[in-house]
């Protein structure tokens, strides 16, 4: 456990925060929940959880003046952990919410799983990181999603899973880790990832 465990959790409105907060506390962090744009920009570590629709979350982010500080933070590669819908928010949009723009941090559009698989995907799927991943390891993670992106951002390290075809399970870019799965619900696998993410910001080592 490192001394500095300052971490902020963004209250996007529709997200259930209890599991994220419980996981962070288990790792020795003392998470604060915020909707303050200045905190979103400055916090040494920010978690962007999310369930629900892209439209609902974007409406909260825009109304509260959070969208631009969050987009700037991600563009600068500052330590950020985006979870599930949090990953999809960083893209340009989603089939689930036609006509609603995401934050546009990368050009991906979230699309629905094909009709050949039971949707939503609920359960533990195997995650295979490419060679460039520093924080994401091989293992099983828990997913609860109907939409996903199939191409990671250019230049990002990525990990993949398969459900009716390959999709992006997670990616790393600078200090940003975005997971389609829920690390806070992924047992020891998820806790290890969160632990490494918390630790990465300590060393300022987020520079890839």
């Amino acid at each position: 456990m490192t001394a500095n465990r300052e971490v902020t959790v963004l209250q996007t409105g529709s997200a259930n925060l209890a599991s994220v907060l419980a996981a962070l506390r288990r790792l020795g962090a003392e998470p604060e929940v915020t909707r303050d744009p200045a905190v979103v920009e400055r916090s040494p570590r920010l978690v962007v959880p999310g369930v629900g629709t892209l439209a609902a979350a974007m409406s909260v982010l825009t109304a509260e003046g959070l969208a631009e500080p969050l987009a700037r933070r991600v563009a600068a590669g500052r330590s950020t952990l985006a979870i599930c819908l949090g990953l999809q928010l960083l893209g340009t949009g989603s089939e689930e919410s036609p006509g609603v723009a995401g934050l546009g941090s990368f050009p991906g559009v979230s699309t629905r799983f094909p009709a050949s698989v039971r949707t939503p995907q609920l359960g533990w799927n195997s995650v295979a990181p490419d060679g460039a991943c520093r924080l994401i390891e091989t293992g099983y993670a828990y997913f609860a999603n109907s939409y996903r992106v199939v191409e990671p951002p250019a230049g990002a390290a990525a990990a993949y899973s398969d459900y009716g075809g390959r999709f992006v399970a997670a990616f790393e870019r600078g200090g940003v880790v975005a997971c389609q799965f829920h690390p806070e619900l992924s047992g020891s696998y998820g806790l290890r990832l969160m632990e490494r993410w918390l630790g990465a910001a300590d060393g300022g080592g987020a520079s890839c």
Partner: protein, 251 residues
């Protein structure tokens, strides 16, 4: 590849487990939080808490139970029992549930499923269906722990509830529950064919082979209580057997 989920179910009354499992080194088998943590350590993929407290006391105790379990586990938590409104579900989700199951209240008022899905999303909304065989054939929905037959076609209700936004069907066979005779495979097959969402099989499991049958019938997950409560089979041992029988499980 998506693995088959093994889901131990804890029946909880007034904050205490009704049928406690005897784990080694677990001092209090009646504490739902300690038991859930032991199941996670043993390899459970998800925990189901079914609150069987009488309705009038439930509001006070259910959220507290969920809060205590959530503090101890890092895997998904599904909670069911007596949810009648969006407010009930919100209290459980806020306390740390990841999915909420509705049963009797949704049969009385199907619009509740739409409301939950619109507010919390399909991935949070589980339709729990207790189904019994009926004499000319087919299955009907039973409610209030099997004390009331509704005449409603269980397969048609599963299809309607998923169309209304439920993201998962928790399918309990009333005839097989507690028999240890295996899941009702015809029931599973009928519901699997009628909906596009995942199905959790429940009721009747005694062996790893029963679970393999349910998965072959199309279930995405298997829920069990008695098989673990009697302490004869650990989750870890069960998963070894399932793997040997050809299923992909998380280990």
């Amino acid at each position: 590849m998506l693995t088959v989920r093994i889901i131990p179910c804890l029946d909880v009354r007034a904050g205490r487990v009704v049928k406690g499992v005897r784990f080694q080194d677990l001092a209090d088998a009646g504490d739902p939080a300690a038991l859930a943590a032991a199941y996670e350590a043993d390899g459970a993929d998800e925990i189901m808490v079914l609150d069987v407290t009488a309705t009038e006391e439930r509001r006070a105790t259910a959220a507290d139970t969920v809060r205590r379990v959530r503090e101890r586990i890092s895997i998904p938590l599904t909670v069911g029992g007596g949810v009648t409104s969006v407010g009930d579900a919100a209290a459980l989700l806020e306390a740390g549930a990841d999915k909420v199951g509705v049963n009797t209240a949704a049969v009385s008022r199907p619009g509740l499923v739409d409301e939950l899905a619109a507010r919390f999303g399909a991935q949070c909304t589980v339709i729990a269906i207790d189904a019994a065989r009926r004499s000319p054939g087919g299955f009907e929905v039973v409610v209030r722990s099997g004390t009331a037959r509704t005449g409603i076609d269980a397969v048609g209700w599963a299809a309607e509830a998923s169309a209304r936004g439920a993201g998962e069907v928790l399918l309990m066979s009333f005839d097989r529950d507690g028999t240890m005779a295996g899941y009702d495979l015809e029931l599973i097959e009928a519901v699997v064919a009628a909906v596009g969402v995942p199905i959790v099989a429940s009721g009747g499991a005694a062996t790893a082979s029963h679970m393999v049958e349910a998965v072959r019938a199309g279930a995405s997950a298997v829920l069990a209580a008695s098989i673990f409560h009697f302490g004869e089979l650990t989750v870890r041992a069960l998963k070894s057997q399932l793997a040997m029988l050809g299923l992909e499980v998380r280990r």
